[in-house]
Symmetry: C2
Subunit: 491 residues, 2 copies
């Protein structure tokens, strides 16, 4: 076949793509093999580099090739579709006290240790780029305004940052004024302040199951009980279950992560959001909406925040939307926020009494970063990378983990939730993995009811290195060993 | 008199000083008048400038002249000693709920407003200098380590800063290891974390009366009750009263500011500290020691922290010492710390669940500032300035406030506690003062029991300007008007 003989009916890159498929199907390029480099194939077929790139992108879209960061294109295992998704979760129907705090603290201290591959963390390394920009801004602000540090910042935050946050929420369909926004030291502090504004010790709150362990800790810290709601790994919490819980007055607040949920990656469909807000308004129960991963959805535009479905003035909203930049710009800034609707005054006051205010300089630098418009470009860049890395991690798991493994299909962010065979104890697995230099996040910490012992959450947001690639086979081996030990122990 | 005719028995500067005294006593230089400038007097008397400076310093030491920042030397009012100190406080003997939160939040937002003379605040403007140094360090660290922001800082804080804090506490007689220290977002957060580690909602805690309103808010926020202890304006809390309270098991914790107390400026004598620690050990009740003003004592060396009297390993100490740099380096950094002794693990965990950790860059910059040794020099400089400004403010009050006014004799820091005649309502005074562009801190916010309505706390830590000088006569006039109105209203 002579590729210089162009057939006008069919674009040239499709011919190239077909040729590659023939090579794959014929076994010339087996699963896992690296496809020829763009340059060498272009030379070989006497076409332009851009034609080969277009062909590879097409095959990537069709799921035949997999782009690996800084490495090239690889033939994809067709097994991907045979790895099932987890089912809807089935938490207990009664509220639980929260108690695995020591394990969570251990995990938190492990994540940042040098020499550890932090698959247990939830931070995206590509925020390096934005951190660099924000640092440069801090440096420039420090130099130009040396005296700005000599007074306390206002409790609700620096006005310039509150303006930027309010503006940003237009993307989420919310019309906020800067005065509706309170700046906090990270999104978890925002959730803490909102939750304490609407509950008393002893109250129960409804949560997804599984859900982010930080929220469970906040629930414990405030002396509350957690009522876990069955949750679907793609569409989020069961509204039927939530309706029953609200109808029976079982909870004083609902705390959800409707968009790119941690750990599931689930994203509530628009219609569910509308129904959810109608339900909480009927029951007159506040909804705390953790929005922190929403800017990392894989769709071109983020879904509207639940808050946007609560019509009427911000000052009467029952939806307290919380967010932050730890997943998108830099966790070390420790900047979050909330728009606490009806409880604005209570939240502002709690923020003041807790730690007066958040530090000035990181707020000013972030405000300028958001204002100068680098944020959207940055988000597009990192979201593409995270999606690819989640895909690649899924492939590696499909290849190296036991057959019965199930993995989520996240719709945003950089986290994978992996359901291992029932007999695998992920806490024991964690202890073995850390000795091999790999941190993982055992499933138990995502449930107040002690569920998900056979699950792990894996971070695909790391800077992708050969060590990360090798960590998954290592984990697969440790799981196999653990299962062998269990089987032998059971014999 | 010819000053060139030197008499060897008596230094020349003493002759000059005597000449000035003659001018004062004779009425040539009345109280409040500005003494001739150094240069003009030197020229006039045909002596060296340095001789006049020495003479003025001598007269300053003797209380005859007052140096005013950036202005010169002024003849001091001899009334100073006739203004009495407040007496030992007499709070109620039962614990109170805390409730003046709205007023406190209002105050907090007023303090930083442009165009307001912030006599109600508690922040020292001369920290401008250190803020500038720390900003320069941040700028340099940002440039040299652009990637440090891409991971979460450890919950207990950056090791370099914990090392510096531990090292610094040697001055307070405490042998701490970096592992004993938890970095927090300001000292108030440290107190919050320590208090929540040792109490349950409904418990009572013992405090000085009056005491820092931030501590009272923390007490309210945690659902605790405040038991106010009679407190002497120079020597701090009554140990007799505290012994009764501890003996009757009335409180689950004691929270004190033993050194340069806010608002009193009181500093517990060494022997009282020893007794206090023995008492709390006998009762097995933790002491939270707020140490934030201790680096600003007027004595050459700070007193030993109460913590240092609790012998034995740090891990079993009942004294949880808390501090920070908001009063000494820069409030906008929002950096504090605690060494929570026996409750290290609980406090670290709470810090993690509250907001994961404090931001990285301010911690690194402060660590370097403490390490590079500018801190001690800076402290000597600002303490001298604060002491002078407190003196000057006392003079102005003596001159312009009603005769029955009492003022404290602070032993450190930059705060004055002013007891006005009983019929003055300082909340109403605050409302009138703010309309004249002056913020003051009404006494009621320093008591859970609603006491001190006729008291105000004034901040002498401001950058001293003619506006600050003029604010006190203005306040004096407002007080006189209020008293006239009261008298008229009563007639």
């Amino acid at each position: 076949m002579d590729f210089t003989d162009k057939k006008p009916q069919r674009p040239l890159y499709e011919e190239v793509a077909n040729q590659i498929i023939t090579m794959i199907d014929g076994g010339t390029l087996p699963v896992g093999a690296r496809a020829p480099s763009v340059r060498s194939l272009a030379k070989q077929l006497r076409v332009a580099n851009s034609t080969v790139v277009a062909a590879y992108r097409k095959l990537e879209d069709e799921g035949r090739l997999q782009a690996r960061p800084q490495s090239g294109f690889y033939v994809r295992a067709p097994r991907r579709d045979t790895v099932e998704e987890p089912e809807m979760s089935r938490p207990p129907e009664t509220a639980s006290d929260v108690t695995v705090g020591d394990l969570r603290l251990l995990l938190l201290t492990e994540f940042g240790q040098p020499g550890i591959i932090g698959l247990g963390a939830s931070s995206g390394a590509v925020s390096d780029w934005s951190a660099k920009s924000v640092h440069a801004l801090m440096s420039s602000i420090s130099r130009s305004q040396p005296r700005l540090s000599s007074s306390y910042p206002p409790p609700a935050g620096i006005p310039a940052l509150r303006r930027q946050v309010a503006r940003w929420y237009l993307r989420a369909g919310c019309t906020l004024s800067p005065d509706d926004v309170v700046i906090t030291s990270g999104a978890l502090e925002a959730i803490h302040l909102c939750l304490r504004a609407v509950t008393q010790p002893g109250d129960a709150v409804a949560l997804e199951s599984p859900t982010y362990w930080g929220i469970l800790q906040t629930v414990e810290m405030l002396g509350l009980k957690a009522l876990e709601i069955p949750t679907h790994p793609r569409t989020g919490p069961s509204l039927d279950a939530l309706e029953v819980v609200l109808g029976q007055n079982l909870v004083k607040a609902v705390v959800l992560i409707p968009t790119a949920h941690n750990p599931l990656g689930s994203t509530m469909p628009e219609e569910n959001r509308r129904q959810l807000v109608a339900m909480i308004r009927r029951a007159n129960v506040p909804l705390i909406e953790d929005d922190i991963y929403a800017d990392l959805v894989y769709e071109p535009a983020r879904p509207r925040a639940c808050r946007s479905y609560d019509a009427g003035p911000s000052a009467s909203s029952l939806v307290m939307v919380c967010g932050g930049v730890s997943k998108t710009v830099a966790p070390s800034l420790r900047i979050g926020w909330c728009a606490p609707g009806k409880w604005l005054k209570e939240v502002t006051r709690s923020k003041a009494w807790l730690n007066i205010a958040s530090p000035t300089l990181p707020q000013l630098a972030l405000a300028r970063f958001l204002e100068e418009g680098g944020y959207e470009r940055h988000l597009r860049k990192v979201t593409t990378i995270y999606r690819r890395q989640v895909e690649r991690m899924s492939e590696l798991i499909a290849e190296h983990f036991p057959r019965e493994t199930r993995i989520t299909r996240p719709q945003g962010g950089f986290l994978l939730w992996v359901e291992l065979p029932e007999r695998v104890d992920s806490v024991a697995l964690h202890d073995r993995a850390i000795k091999s230099g790999i941190s993982i996040c055992p499933g138990v910490v995502f449930s107040a009811a002690g569920k998900y012992r056979n699950c792990v959450r894996l971070n695909c947001g790391l800077l992708w290195t050969p060590e990360v690639e090798r960590a998954i086979p290592t984990l697969g081996r440790l799981i196999a060993e653990a299962m062998g030990a269990t089987a032998a122990g059971g014999a």
